[in-house]
Amino acid sequence: MSTKSKSIESKTDFNQDERLKKVSNLKVLLNRPELGALGGAILVFIFFGIVAGDTGMFSAYGILNFLDVSANLGIIAIAAAMLMIGGEFDLSIGSMIGFAGICIAIPAIYWGWPLWMSIIFAFSMAVLVGYFNGILVVRTGLPSFIVTLAMLFILRGATLALTRLITGRTQVPGLRVLIENDPIAWIFATDSFKWVFTWLGSMNLIALRTDGSPLATGIPPSVIWFIALAILTTWILMKTRYGNWIFASGGDKNGANNVGVPVGRVKISLFIGTAVAATIFATIQVLDAGSADTMRGTLKELEAIAAAVVGGCLLTGGYGSAIGAAFGALIFGTVSMGIFYTDVDTDWFKVFLGAMMLIAVIFNNFIRRKVTESK
């Protein structure tokens, strides 16, 4: 507002300012960060519904397939989104996935640890790595982009070197037999709601194998984790004090500090969050495949960030949503699987991914300008 409003000098209250217009409900909705991703997801489903509606993509088996892919990405995308809202990046997510996999496989196979102990060990390492990333960023004030880029190389290199040193190869197979009777592994390895699928199969509502069991056996653990994490993080952001601190830390570090928000602790905890999410991802994949591979998770950090950005997170922090990142992951997962059901060469997927992200960033930028613009 400028000095021009002097003309209404006699009325000094803001609410009588004639130049403020009412904000419509539609605009309020448009200001929600996840709106773009929700719209995008709907468009994607409409597109594949038309192009691949009769190909089996939307059979129970097909749906679980692309949900599984989306959920895996979603687990790390949600954590990446939380960290981005808190104003930082984590480029070491992908390397952490490989590292966590090895942390489970080597103790379990070569050192004879019980599987549950290896899993706990991997999560402990994740907390350490996350803490180290966080404390380094907070204490040095260096951009997290650089610090975690270094960690990307360090972790991947260490994963490769240690694995070859201990095992003489880069893959560690043989985990599947250990899953049974393990007190923890089932959390990451069991399909849920099997009875629903058995029932659907018995009613001939979903496709069956030749032996009469349903083709889709149950909801994969990744999907359960994904949904649980999406709900938990959204609740944290919207309903808890810690959530408010995340927004504040990302929005204005100094301002937040000045009013007593423990910005450092918030950021460190978010870095631990991304590393732990990477380990959840790794545990599910390692137990599913029955083996750990040193190269697992390569480039996943970028996909996670892309999903978070499509989900409405600003690269500058302070704005975004966990549920948006979940939709972002759903878009990528659906397209990456859906493309198999179309005539389009799958090589085009990355083009789509990049284009989608570019559009999202331009859109987000526009939104931020509108939100921060003073009237």
């Binding site: 507002m1 400028s2 000095t3 021009k4 409003s5 002097k6 209404i8 000098e9 000094t12 209250d13 803001f14 609410n15 009412k22 904000v23 309020v28 200001n31 919207m238 309903k239 808890t240 004090r241 959530g243 408010n244 601190w245 927004f247 504040a248 929005g251 204005d252 100094n254 301002g255 937040a256 000045n258 009013v259 007593g260 928000v261 600003l314 302070g318 704005y319 931020r368 939100v371 921060t372 613009e373 003073s374 009237k375």
Partner: protein, 264 residues
């Protein structure tokens, strides 16, 4: 003696060889507005940070409600009821009015260990408090970025008062505002003082300070040029006391001479 709410006696602050502040004394009663005037580089920022507990004074004493105190951190100052509203206001423009209002001090509800941020209560209080100063936040979940500069300033001050400020230290609250907005903010400051707060208003704008201040302290190159009650000093005198005033007078004379010589 102790009818002063807060006293800063002979405060000095050195940075290495630089004397940033020397023997600055300020005393405030309840309901008083003291304007701290000074040009750029006069030591205003250092003084604010000393009042806020960011810097520890090298000499002098701080007496709050009759008790001598030392601020080890900004939190200490805040706990004693001395709240500083900096120029950046410590507001996050992407966050909502409510979330900003309660940033770092969120009201909670629910059983222990499952406490959640009581958004409804926070919305209510924020809207109520803003309403009291005549700002109608139509939607307390709207981003602060959509508010005008004056509204933001009022929000920051209102927040400080809500959280128990007894002494408000305001850093250039009107410098970025237009005339209309500045007058609204100044009016709010007077209102706050009339409710028993002591206000230290830091500014380089005499025209904003003079109508609202009860007393004026002029700072020049780290030293206080004295504190004057309003009845003892005119606006013009204040103006020329600030280094800028003298400089400008000199400049005016020089320009006149230049004009005269070029006219000849």
């Amino acid at each position: 003696m102790s009818d002063y709410l807060v006293q800063f006696n002979n405060i000095s602050k050195f940075f290495g060889k630089v004397i940033a502040l020397k023997d600055v004394t300020m005393k405030l009663r309840k309901g008083e507005i003291m304007c701290l005037l000074g040009d750029n580089g006069a030591g205003k920022s250092t003084l604010i940070k000393t009042l806020a507990g960011v810097h520890k004074p090298d000499e002098g004493e701080i007496i709050v409600e009759g008790r001598k105190t030392i601020f080890d951190s900004p939190k200490d100052a805040l706990d004693m009821g001395i709240a500083t509203v900096y120029q950046d206001l410590a507001l996050v423009s992407l966050m909502s009015v409510t979330r900003n209002f309660f940033m770092g001090r969120e009201p909670m509800k629910g059983p222990p260990f499952f406490k959640t941020f009581d958004i409804e209560k926070a919305n209510k209080i924020a809207a109520e408090r803003m309403g009291q100063i005549g700002i109608d936040v139509r939607d307390p979940s709207q981003a602060v970025g959509t508010m005008s500069g004056g509204e933001r300033q009022c929000l920051a001050i209102s927040r400080a008062i809500y959280f128990g400020a007894k002494v408000l230290v305001l850093d250039e609250p009107t410098s970025a505002l237009g005339v209309h907005q500045a007058s609204v903010v100044l009016k709010y400051i007077v209102k706050a003082a009339s409710q028993g707060l002591a206000v230290i208003l830091i500014t380089h704008n005499v025209h904003h300070a003079y109508p609202v201040g009860n007393s004026f302290t002029v700072l020049n190159r780290g030293k206080s040029l004295g504190t004057y009650e309003k009845k003892d000093i005119s606006r013009e005198k204040l103006l020329s006391m600030m280094a800028g005033g003298e400089e400008l007078n000199k400049l005016e004379v020089e320009l006149q001479e230049m004009n005269r010589s070029s006219a000849n």
